[in-house]
């Protein structure tokens, strides 16, 4: 059975990729993912904003209260050599890329043009096999138009592509008015892969303390629907690889994504819940499933249920939505 696949120009031994999560916070963690059979690891995201804030905080608190009181002109020892900026990240990336035996993809969330470009270059220098641009961005400013948001994605991609020779993937949110059009523009701008989709921070409320709770829930299997739809739609429309992200909890979701057209299937929540070793279980189950269904290669499966491949392409479009509602109503009525 041939499980290999090509994703963003990288030849992968299977389509199972560990996506950005705390599991890749250490070289050991990355190694464990590789040992479990991951064909590649996308490292946790390097947030430029966080690095800036950290540096500013370090500077602020190191100098807070200094040169104010004669007996205590400072409160901390002078430490000449401490890490601010991406050095810790790059160090893990460098070691992991040497030790893991699989491609390690750096994930980057920038705020400034310099940040995107500079950190991407440094990831390349540190030995990354590719870079995933995590354009995590909540356009809450009403002056920002949809076109601005789209242009920002394109600008970031173009700038990074110009700066590095590595393949570059871009992880997207589903909130574009015209996803297909946007995908095409990114494709033309040189994206080596599109990753569908990012999980956004959606805060909850604590009604007792009347506070906004900044927590992030782990995904559930039903979340595959949206990426599944768009992968199936985009398969064949663009040159860029397609990475599927969200809701993978078993081999079934892997199979669905691959059949929709994904070149790589990414997972994080399930591994956080079950441990990194669970990737081996999913991989084994996936092979078993392929075996049962008599697939001989991933390539054979890939896109077999994309919009272009299925008997009823309209099933992916608006009619599909109406039908579901009608069906749901009918079932509900029956239960009555």
């Amino acid at each position: 059975m041939n499980l290999t696949t090509t994703y963003m120009g990288l030849k992968l031994k299977n389509p199972l990729v560990a996506s950005a999560s705390p599991l890749s916070h250490s070289v050991d963690g990355i190694r464990r993912l590789a040992d479990a059979g991951a064909s590649a690891v996308v490292m946790f995201s390097l947030f430029e904003e966080q690095l800036r804030q950290d540096a500013a905080e370090m500077d602020h608190f190191l100098s807070a209260g200094t040169e104010s009181f004669a007996e205590a002109l400072s409160y901390f020892p002078t430490v000449d050599d401490y890490a601010v900026g991406p050095s810790e990240y790059l160090d893990i990336l460098h070691k992991a890329s040497q030790q893991a035996g699989i491609p390690v993809i750096g994930s980057l969330n920038g705020v400034s043009r310099e940040g995107w470009v500079d950190y991407a270059k440094r990831m390349q220098d540190a030995g990354a096999s590719g870079i995933e641009l995590n354009v995590y961005y909540i356009p809450s400013d009403p002056r920002t138009t949809g076109a601005d948001v789209e242009q920002r994605h394109l600008d970031v991609l173009t700038a990074v592509k110009e700066a590095v020779t590595l393949p570059v993937a871009i992880k997207l949110s589903p909130f574009f008015s015209s996803m297909s059009h946007m995908a095409q523009r990114l494709d033309k701008a040189g994206a080596d892969a599109l990753v569908l989709f990012n999980r956004f921070y959606q805060p909850d409320f604590d009604l007792d303390s009347m506070q906004v709770m900044p927590n992030l829930n782990l995904s559930t299997p039903h979340e595959i629907r949206l990426p599944l739809l768009w992968i199936a739609v985009l398969k064949g429309q663009i040159k860029a690889s397609l990475g599927a992200s969200r809701g993978v909890h078993s081999a079934l979701e892997v199979a669905k994504y691959v059949m929709a057209g994904a070149d790589a299937v990414m997972m994080a929540s399930v591994l956080l819940k079950q441990g990194p070793g669970y990737l081996a279980t999913i991989l084994k189950d996936f092979q078993t499933w392929m075996d049962q269904k008599e697939y001989t290669s991933v390539e054979q499966m890939k896109g077999s249920m994309s919009q272009a491949s299925v008997a009823d392409p309209t099933a992916f479009e608006r009619a599909n939505y109406i039908k579901i509602l009608q069906k749901y109503k009918a079932e509900y009525t029956l239960d009555e």
Partner: protein
Amino acid sequence: MNESAMRTLDGNEAAAYVAHKTNEVCAIYPITPSSPMGEFADEWSSVAKLNIWGTVPHVMEMQSEGGASGTVHGALQTGALTTTFTASQGLLLMIPNMYKIAGELTSTVFHVTARTLATHALSIFGDHSDIMAVRQTGFAMLGASSVQEVHDFALISQAATLESRIPFVHFFDGFRTSHEVQKIAMLSDPQIRAMIDDDLVLAHRRRALSPDRPVLRGTAQNPDVFFQGREAANTFFDATPGIVQKQMDKFAKLTGRAYRLFDYFGHPQAERVIVVMGSGADVTREAVEVLVQHGERVGLVQVHLFRPFSCEHLLKALPASAKAIAVLDRTKEPGSAGEPLYQDVLTGLMEAQQNGCLPMGAMPRLIGGRYGLSSKEFTPAMVKAVLDELSKAQPKNHFTVGINDDVTHTSLTYDEQFITESAKSVRALFFGLGADGTVGANKNSIKIIGEETDFNAQGFFVYDSKKSGSRTTSHLRFGPDPVRSAYLLQSATFVGCHQFNFLEQTDVLKQAAKGSIFLLNSPYGADTVWAHLPARVQRQIVSKGMKLYVIDAYAVAEKTGMGSRINTVMQTCFFAISGVLPREEAIAKIKGAIKKTYGKKGEDIVRRNFEAVDQTLAHLFEVAVPQATPASKTAAVGESIFRAVIPAGAPAFVRDVTSRMMVDEGDSLPVSAMPVDGTFPTGTTQWEKRNISASVPEWDPAVCTQCGMCNLVCPHSVIRSRTYSSTLLAGAPAGFKAVAARGKDVSPDLRYTLQLSVEDCTGCQLCVEICPSKNKEHAGRKAINMTAKDPILERERASWTFFNTLPSNDRNVVDATMPKDVQFLDPLFEFSGACAGCGETPYVRLMSQLFGDRLIIANATGCSSIYGGNLPTTPWTKNAAGRGPAWSNSLFEDNAEFGLGFRLTIDKHTEYARELLKRLASDLGDDLVTALLAAPPKTEAEIAAQRVRVAALMGRLKGIAKPEARHLESVAEHLVPRSVWALGGDGWAYDIGYGGLDHVLASGRNINIMVLDTEVYSNTGGQMSKATPMGAVAKFAAAGKKLGKKDLGMIAMSYGHVYVARVAMGASPRQTLRAMVEAEAYDGPSLIIAYSHCIAHGYDLKDGLRQQRLAVDSGHWVLCRYNPTLAREGKNPLQLDSKKPTIPLEDYAYNELRYKMLSRSNPEEAKRLLTNGQAYINERWKRYEDMATQPTPAA
């Protein structure tokens, strides 16, 4: 001679540099102003900087200077080249070992920043009282007068001690020299190497104790031989002056800088000569050189080697023409025949005369005088006054100079207009806030000018005594000539005022020279600022022909992401308009310096600073100064435009004395204004409205539940609560807020007011953070919210005044364990100068609320003694009845013992009062005596009743004409129980004072000990203590503390008879209150260890209470109470008041820079220590849990 590298650095670094290069072991203990020397040594060793033998010196922080000197002694005895750094009380603690080290002829150098000894008051500033207290130990003493001399003499003394075997104190003036930044020629490694003779080093090692060649040292001797043994070392002392001069000569050959034991400067045939040592010598030299240029026959002898005192060398230095000599001592020895240097010089001259070798024809007139105590300014004008005095037929002996002694009339008058600053120099004076980065920027400017131009450079910085909102003054001199002006600027060519409101608070242009430049950070632009300047300032600008420039530095800083740090902006302005360097060159150099300073802090920081530099130039404007100030304005305002700082109702002492200190005029107070024994009135902070925060909390009565939490946590006692009858609102000013009081069975007439003293608020926001009540319409708002102060200032000022006319709540009905009740107890500790958001002061204030009118406090030296007792104003105050805490600070190391002394007196006098009551029972009446002798009152009501009885007793005693009655009058107040507390930080309780604390706990006496545990030496700037937790970074633990925090509570519990509580107000206010009440009630020793968040933890202190909670949730801080009374009742005495840890240590610790820093500098080690720290916590929790759940015998 080698070409030397030039660097600008301060005296401490100059000394430490050589000490670290020439030693193998440093044993130290932090004390101001010497702490930076130890810190430098530790930092250098932590980054493996090598000494001249290619090895890294070991640095060990000890528990006290006594410990440090013992360790030094031990290290020396075993052959290591060993040093230490200290000052003042620290040096005193070393005296016993100094006798030993000298008696054993052991080579070492102690580097000492000469600092005032605490007498009638503590002072951190400089004079020679400490070094004079060790002149008898047998140490040689070499004194430096400038940063260059400090650097050079550190080496010369090291070389001389190795050759002479006599240990050396190398001293220089605290702050004036230790903290003055000067451009100096650095000693190169080859130069240092050449000065240190390895044969002598090897000889030192050969004298070490070794089991391979055992000897005995430190014997006990008897009358038969001790005396002879003491004299046996004479030849070594005799040889020392010659050896020092020999080393100085060798040094001169290597460096070109020549020194003599006594250096003479001045007219070759001087008739009037001053003998002086320390930084005062440089000032004297500057004045003498000017006077000589004016044809006066004057000179000075600068004393370098003070011990052994070589009369022979002194006589060689004195000009034979000298007819009158004044010896200046920077110390006072009450009751002596004269201060030490005076006596030595007198002895030298007398002996010379007796021996017929006096170089002068006749014995010169010799007088001695005191100057410069506690860093009192010593200026060329004072030098001239001394020299003028020498011209008189009957010059005043034992004079003082620099003060106005209107009591014993010792002082010399001097002409303030005698100014000798070099006309060729640029002299820049800057007024800033501690928080705005002014001093840092100026230090940077000195580095730029000092290290990148041929100019000489000097910087000196003055800080006020508050830890929040403190003001700084920077004095910078640059110029082609050597700078010897070891005094503050007298005539400034450039004045920078970095805060507009300073124009109203202090006379910023007092020192401005004619034609000087004035740079003002102003919210008003160039076209409008003039009208906003006080008339006095306008007049000064016009009459002095000054140029005025303005910039809105806060706007530029904000715009460029610098927040409130205006340092880079103002520094750029200085370079742009001062003309010290060509503008373009200066800008390039500033940017270079920024890259150097901030490079390691991140590119973003560098970029923002660059942006600030560029934006500054676009926002800096010259103001068109009118030719003359409008006469009307001048006339209307008059000379003194300082706002009335003291309300009319202030007591006379505050009006006449305290207020003068508050407006920087303390120097002009005469001797007669001072208390003779250091006793001061309490309650003076209330008269100093500092208005340091632009934003303050505002109460929203509609949302408030009257829980009292804001009141409980306020570090500055700014928030007060009272309930009162609505009828009292009759005279309330407009805007005074009151609502119906809440609570069970509360009269509908009762009103509640939460009042803030916004003028005393530091804006720390702890109250807002703790407030549990949320506005139902706006979730972001609470019952107390931050708001701009100016719009509400007048209303709140009037409300505060009115509020204070309302009667205090009845203490008898308050449940002291409930925060909602405790808010109604008046604090008797208010408006301290502690850091904004201080974690200690809420506990201190609480103590004053609970026990204030019968409280007596022994306060260990440290933060709490500084915010509690540093002039000009102090926070401990009185209630309406005139009662309140009595407070004193003895030392750092003896506080528990000091407090125990209080207890012993109280116990004795209580016993004596009771005895006298019995003896006088028939005169006083049995009923009263029986009531007074009944069981000691405990509750507030019982105490109040006892006070009434004592008042009755005093009344009856008046009519009894027996000696016992007079004695009983003097001790009767002890019939009301007193609450004795020893208060201090972890440095005291865990380290320097631990031995005494332990003894006091063991004594079983009824004394309460409150340890404000910040887990670090806060007052001296964040040095590690034994309370510092594992993994935290601190000074002397730059690589993270490797071992866990000492469990002081558990140690105390092991006695069984000690009440122990560990509290954290932010985690459980009720537990804190319970502990304080129980501790006070317990008839025996009590120890409360209180978690105190601190600026040295490195996070925004508004989150301090949250961090306290997380400290408890993580198990780092286990809340508990150990009450021996329970054991006596057959119960388990240990109660755990916090739950099993619910969050990992990391979730608490990594919110704080002290922990996070290690994860940046050494991630692997940080991880290891975090893991170990977690294991330590888990293990400790289990231990506590086991203890708390152990079945008791009765159970």
